[in-house]
Amino acid sequence: MIITAAAAMVWLAAAPPAPTNDPPRMDFVLPDPGTYQLQRIMRAPDGTVLTVDGQLDKLSRFTRDRITLLGFIYTSCTDPQGCPMAYRVFDRLKDEIRATPALKDQVQLVTLSFDPARDTPSVMKRYAGSQLEDEGGLRWYFLTTPSERELMPLVEGFGQDVQYAIDNSTGRPFRQLSHVLKVFLIDRAGDVREIYTSTFLHPRAIIGDIKTLLME
């Protein structure tokens, strides 16, 4: 089997990140679940997405009925404090949720690509690896979009900015795929109830928030 260098790079980029990126240290005592309220920040936007099998579907099919954690990624992202950290946190959450019977049928994880041009369904499938397998009730969906036309309303609706820069050699704008890492906690009715950045992306805090929503 012959693999070209470019194809190899794509394959390497699409492999799940190595588990080397720990979340930031949590230097405080969290309030107990249910002792505080998570406000309804906004409605989670809906739109068209592609599953790893290439099926078109509504995003809302993956963000309703269960409590959802949704994060944007690029499979080619290399910043250790960015997408790989989000992946790692989701991976840890998956373990904690699986170990808590009261949670595992109540939660789903959604990883949505920012980069439809590169992150085709097959690339997302490789990125997901074994995470796609049924984890005894826990669901982890890896989604992309057909094109920027479907992606941008979702990006805008979630308030996940995208920056444009000018290529000095051509004078043409290009999409600078930069973002401050955000993860969205969505309740069963489809309202965004918390938004985490890398500073506040602690699995224990997220579990506490999930339990708080389940106690409503």
Partner: protein, 435 residues
């Protein structure tokens, strides 16, 4: 705080060649804010109080070109009037830095400006008018970004225009989310002024000033009113940020105003200045984790009421600028030991000075003049300006000045830094991929 770009490798490499590096700016913004400027800022936005008979007399957002390489360096290049005069005071960026929220202390309106589409020419996007109806609060003061939303600290209330007030939360689209009253029990006095969060400690600090009935009165009249002078805040509150609940109320006499967290990694303290007592206070947790406030320094001669009105901390937490309104002085304190700040420099920078902001590297310092319409000085002392200085660690050297009266702008108050490369959009511009 660091932002975390997430770039496809090929684009990241291209960016190194094609795009200016933009990372962070002045040191008083929310730690959740994206795209901070560490290099040369291009613009200073000045939220300006309207003056009757000067220009259109309305409050306005003024853009000044501060790029030394620009042909319009030191000049006003844009202004956006809100069409009314309402004691323009403070402003703040949304966490994505696409918008500036600004408001006036005379009412409850909040103005939202788009600074992403064309950073040199902000546009008024919308006016949020439901603060008083949703919360009972008026006088929106501090705008502090949380992910996807904005906390708005108010100064007063609609009912009696006193100091009992609170915090409102809105999402970035300007939809009201919740209200959080300032505590009035357990030592709380209900007053509000500034707020600042430290996510690594899950803490939000708030400070306390006074209500509409006081801050809208002429200063000379107010200070002779003994009863009214007792109606100023004397507390700071440490809140559980996650729960948005007050945890510890600290006694800090004399209206503690701006709160600045040290941004140095590992530091766990914030500093504030009490306006009426002219003291610096350090806020940090004790060995048991309980938040404590401690007086650590004196600013000028408190018997002369110099009135410290704004502070700006260095990005490494090792130094602090303090502006005192009455004597027009700009002072620098060495904060190497935050338990014992030492003044090492001072300069008379104006007949009256109020806000002070510095670039991330600390080499550029900007000062404005106005405190409140009815508290500003009269006659020749009523200078209205933005003055820019260079700081070499030893002395402030004037760089340029904009005379806000001569330019028919108004009273110069709060400043925020801007950059032309922070052009953020959800909709791809013409010529971009996917169009």
């Amino acid at each position: 705080m660091k932002s975390f770009p997430c770039l496809p490798a090929a684009l990241a490499a291209a960016l190194l060649l094609a795009a200016p590096v933009v990372q962070a700016d002045e040191t008083c913004n929310s730690p959740y804010m994206a795209k901070l400027i560490k290099g040369q800022e291009d613009y200073v936005y000045v939220w300006t109080l309207g003056v009757d008979g000067l220009g259109d007399g309305s409050d306005k957002l003024v853009t000044i070109d501060v790029d030394p390489k620009s042909k319009t360096y030191g000049k006003v290049i844009a202004q956006v009037s809100v069409g009314t005069r309402g004691e323009a005071h403070h402003m703040g960026f949304t966490d994505d830095r696409r918008r500036i929220w600004a408001g006036g202390l005379a009412g409850a309106e909040i103005y939202v400006f788009d600074i992403a589409t064309d950073p040199a020419h902000p546009k008024l996007l919308k006016t949020i008018k439901d603060l008083a109806a949703k919360t009972g609060y008026i006088g929106p003061h501090t705008y502090y970004a949380l992910p996807g939303r904005m906390l708005v600290q108010a100064l007063s209330n609609e009912k009696d225009k006193g100091g009992a007030t609170g915090i409102a939360a809105y999402n970035n689209e300007g939809e009201f989310i919740a209200r959080y009253p300032m505590p009035v029990e357990g030592g709380g006095d209900g007053y509000g002024y500034d707020l600042a969060v430290n996510p690594t400690k899950n803490v939000m600090l708030t400070s306390s000033f006074t209500g509409y009935a006081n801050y809208m009165r002429p200063l000379g009249e107010l200070i002779k009113d003994e009863a009214a002078m007792k109606r100023f805040g004397n507390t700071m509150v440490a809140w559980d940020l996650k729960a948005m609940k007050p945890k510890t109320i600290m006694q800090v006499p004399g209206a503690p105003l701006e709160i600045r967290w040290s941004l140095h990694p590992g530091d766990d303290w914030a500093i504030t200045a009490a306006a009426l007592t002219s003291k610096l206070w350090l806020v940090r947790p004790d060995a048991s984790g309980q938040w404590q406030a401690k007086e650590v320094a004196t600013i000028g001669d408190p018997t002369k009421i110099p009135l410290p009105v704004d502070i700006s901390i260095r990005q490494d937490g090792k130094g602090l600028w303090v502006n005192t309104f009455m004597d027009g002085m700009t002072r620098y304190f060495d904060l190497t030991n935050p338990q014992a700040p030492k003044q090492t420099y001072e300069k008379h920078t104006g007949a009256q000075v109020n806000m002070i902001s510095q670039s991330w590297d600390g080499t550029r310092v900007y000062i404005t003049s106005s405190l409140l319409a009815n508290w500003d000085k009269a006659g020749a002392d009523n200078e209205q300006f933005l003055r820019a200085f260079r700081w070499d660690g030893k002395a402030l050297t004037p760089a340029f000045e904009v005379d806000f009266t001569k330019e028919k702008l108004g009273r110069a108050h709060h400043m925020k830094l801007g950059s032309k490369v922070l052009k953020t959009a959800y909709v791809a511009p013409a010529g971009a991929p996917g169009r």
